[in-house]
């Protein structure tokens, strides 16, 4: 072996094993270039966040949605009292509010966690 071509052939034998961030770098590029893989990343982010949102709705909106029917089917619920306060007043006038804030707070933490996870996969800023 004498000149250039053979030398070049030697120089591309393989990627150095130490260079790790290749996969994360690629993920961002997959999204930018709108490849099928990039779409998979995006769809999984959307699904995760939407599933979280729907879980929150199931937790708060569903019980509230059942309430009027429950009052209609079992009128006795409307006459129960907790201390001096009737149950419907307690639920709709007070309990709803701290409960909503609590659920909202849990949602916020989980949504941010999902985003950090996505950031970890898609990689450090290039």
């Amino acid at each position: 072996m004498t000149e250039g071509p053979s030398r070049r052939r030697v120089s591309v034998t393989g990627p150095p094993r130490a260079s790790r961030p290749l996969r994360p770098r690629a993920a961002g590029r997959e999204i930018d270039e709108q490849t099928a893989l990039g779409e998979v990343y995006m769809r999984s982010l959307l699904r995760t966040q939407l599933r979280l949102a729907l879980a929150v709705l199931a937790l708060v909106v569903l019980p509230l949605a059942i309430l009027p029917t429950a009052f209609a089917v079992w009128p006795v619920l409307g006459t129960l009292t907790v201390g001096p306060v009737p149950l419907p007043w307690l639920l709709l006038g007070f309990v709803v509010y701290p409960l909503t804030v609590l659920v909202g707070w849990r949602y916020l933490r989980q949504a941010e966690r999902n985003e950090r996870e996505f950031e970890r996969i898609v990689g450090p800023p290039r």
Partner: protein, 585 residues
């Protein structure tokens, strides 16, 4: 003028002056082009949340909720619950993506997301319609407040709020308004909460009379009622009153026996009821025993279960579609801050809503004359004076009057800015050369139309009016936002069709309700609470329409989804902001 009304006038003037002064001070701090419209983007979530709360808590929250609960009972607590849950839905479904979209306004979002000018035009029309619909009850509330505390005719308050908002908005845009709105939130919270402690203490000192008694409300003492506008009274038990004015078409001065039945009482009439007489109610308010009033579905309206569900749907899903709510999100630095801000708003709004039920309940015992005049919306204003005697009562009365005025000012200016913004950009701006002049003309239009509607139109309870605006928003912008953010296959023709069908039907129901007055039976319930059928139609039409035109899915949708959903810290290609930057005056 009595010393009480003088004090209230002073408090109102101070509120207006403080708002204008803080606005003027802020003007010097921030003066770039985008500041004119969306204030600075470096506002903390805490400050921003106060501002959103300040703008969101309108006449409907400050006066209307207590008024409706007092008249119709516990079912009406769904109003404040709905206003709050609306923010939870906004938090989990819309807040962060909307901020990340970079849109200033709903038409911006619609056009940018769907790459279509046609959607923009329809969205513009709905921003203006919803804005006007929401402004009418604010002005109505202002008229009622000045009338209640100062005794001036209703139009004075309407014109006063209109003029102040016009001057403030045309002069300063949204510069520094964040600070003003934040101040107004704390003022409102203080104004509605402080009297609660005093009226509760006074109720205890009075031996805590039963609110949920098994009988209709009675006058605790000899009570003089001046009837402000023509009413029809339903007398359930014959009563002898002293009357001065026109009753059943006849001039009366002196003692008058009112037998059981309906009686027409003309505006300007003064009636004096004896102690312990049952309270005759103005139509269409139902005469409820304390017990029925305190129980769900006992409010005396047709189809209460349907009405409750339709109202829930309108309020839960309408909040995200209100034009003045979206603009505020742009003042967050990024999507995460938008979420944190929304969570704080949820807490601030929730704290506020603990107060109105107290006014409603005690109002039935201590301000029953409002059931005679039909103006239960005034209970927040009258109760402190009625329950706390002497100077303390006067001061508390002035405090609530100031808080109520802050409510009209803040919500109205937010709405006027949103309406004027889209009007100047899409309607007036095309015909005028100077953008600042266009914004001023648009502001005048944005204020004048609802002012005329308020003075000419039928008066519904304030919170019911606002509920109609929510129903239209839930049937138009809510599906557009939800599908636009979470469903890449939405197309422009589908969106336009959905907006026109859902929003159009809701608007039609609103017009019939406003023009024809209360309709009995199922038809009345469907028209008064349209969201339960108009919102699903909007979603259905949008989805089916988009599937039928699936070739017209915008080319850039993948990039836009990246923009809407990925954290800003990631270095991704997310295309341009969904806004036409630099076009603001």
């Amino acid at each position: 003028m009595t010393s009480g009304s003088g004090l209230a006038l002073l408090a109102i003037v101070l509120t207006v002056a403080a708002a204008l002064l803080i606005g003027a001070y802020g003007t010097r701090v921030s003066r770039t082009t985008s500041d004119f419209y969306v204030a600075s983007r470096s506002v903390t979530p805490w400050m921003n949340a106060s501002a959103i709360g300040g703008e969101y808590l309108s006449a409907a929250s400050f006066l209307g909720v207590a008024g409706l609960v007092m008249a119709y009972g516990v079912d009406m607590l769904w109003f404040p619950v709905g206003y709050t849950i609306g923010y939870l839905l906004l938090l989990v479904l819309v807040a962060a993506p909307l901020r990340r979209s970079g849109a200033y306004t709903l038409p911006d979002f619609a056009e940018g997301r769907l790459e279509s000018r046609g959607v923009r035009r329809v969205a513009t029309a709905f921003v203006v319609l919803i804005g006007w619909l929401y402004l009418v009850p604010q002005m109505q509330g202002a008229g009622l407040t000045l009338r209640t505390v100062l005794g001036v005719p209703t139009w004075v308050g309407v014109v006063a709020v209109g003029a102040v908002v016009l001057v403030a908005v045309a002069g300063g845009g949204m510069r520094s308004i964040t600070l003003v709105q934040a101040f107004q939130y704390w003022l409102k919270l203080f104004a509605i909460t402080l009297p609660v402690f005093f009226v509760l203490a006074s109720w205890q000192a009075d031996g805590a009379p039963e609110v949920l008694a098994d009988s209709p409300p009675v006058f605790a003492e000899r009570t003089s009622v001046s009837v402000g506008s023509d009413v029809v009274l339903r007398v359930e038990q014959a009563v002898t009153v002293r009357a001065d004015g026109v009753v059943d078409g006849r001039e009366v001065t002196g003692t008058l026996r009112l037998p059981t039945g309906r009686h027409e009482v003309a505006a300007g009439t003064e009636l004096v009821f004896p102690a312990d007489a049952p309270v005759p109610h103005a139509e269409p308010l139902p005469a409820l025993t304390g017990q029925a009033w305190g129980q769900p579905l006992g409010g005396g309206l047709d189809q209460p279960l349907y009405r409750t569900y339709a109202l829930m749907l309108a309020l839960f899903f309408g909040t995200m579609g209100l034009p003045h709510v979206l603009v505020r999100f742009y003042t967050n630095p990024d999507g995460r801050a938008a979420r944190r801000t929304t969570l704080t708003v949820l807490a601030l709004v929730g704290i506020f809503y603990l107060a109105p039920p107290v006014y409603a309940a005690l109002g039935r015992v201590y301000s029953p004359e409002l059931l005679v005049t039909g103006r239960t919306d005034a209970v927040v204003l009258t109760l402190p004076g009625a329950m706390v005697g002497g100077g303390g009562g006067l001061v508390l009365g002035a405090v609530v009057a100031a808080g109520a005025f802050a409510a009209f000012l803040s919500t109205s200016s937010g709405l006027v800015i949103s309406v004027a913004g889209v009007l100047s950009q899409d309607v007036v701006g095309r015909r005028m050369r100077s953008p600042v002049a266009a914004f001023r003309v648009a502001t005048t239009l944005a204020v004048a139309v609802p002012m005329v509607l308020t003075l000419a139109g039928q008066s519904l309870p304030v919170a019911s009016m606002v509920g109609l605006a929510f129903a239209v928003a839930a049937s138009s912008f809510c599906p557009l936002l939800l599908l636009g953010i979470w469903w890449p296959r939405l197309t422009a023709p589908g969106a336009v069709a959905g907006l026109l069908v859902g929003g159009g039907l809701a608007m039609l129901a609103v017009l019939v309700t406003l023009l024809a007055g209360p309709v009995p039976g199922w038809a009345g319930a469907l028209l008064a609470q349209p969201a339960a059928w108009t919102m699903p139609s909007a979603v259905l039409v949008m989805v089916v329409g988009s599937l039928m035109t699936s070739r017209q899915v915008p080319d850039g949708v993948t990039r836009i989804m990246v923009r809407l959903h990925t954290p800003e810290s990631l270095d991704l290609d997310r295309g341009a902001n969904l806004t036409r930057g630099g076009q603001w005056p």
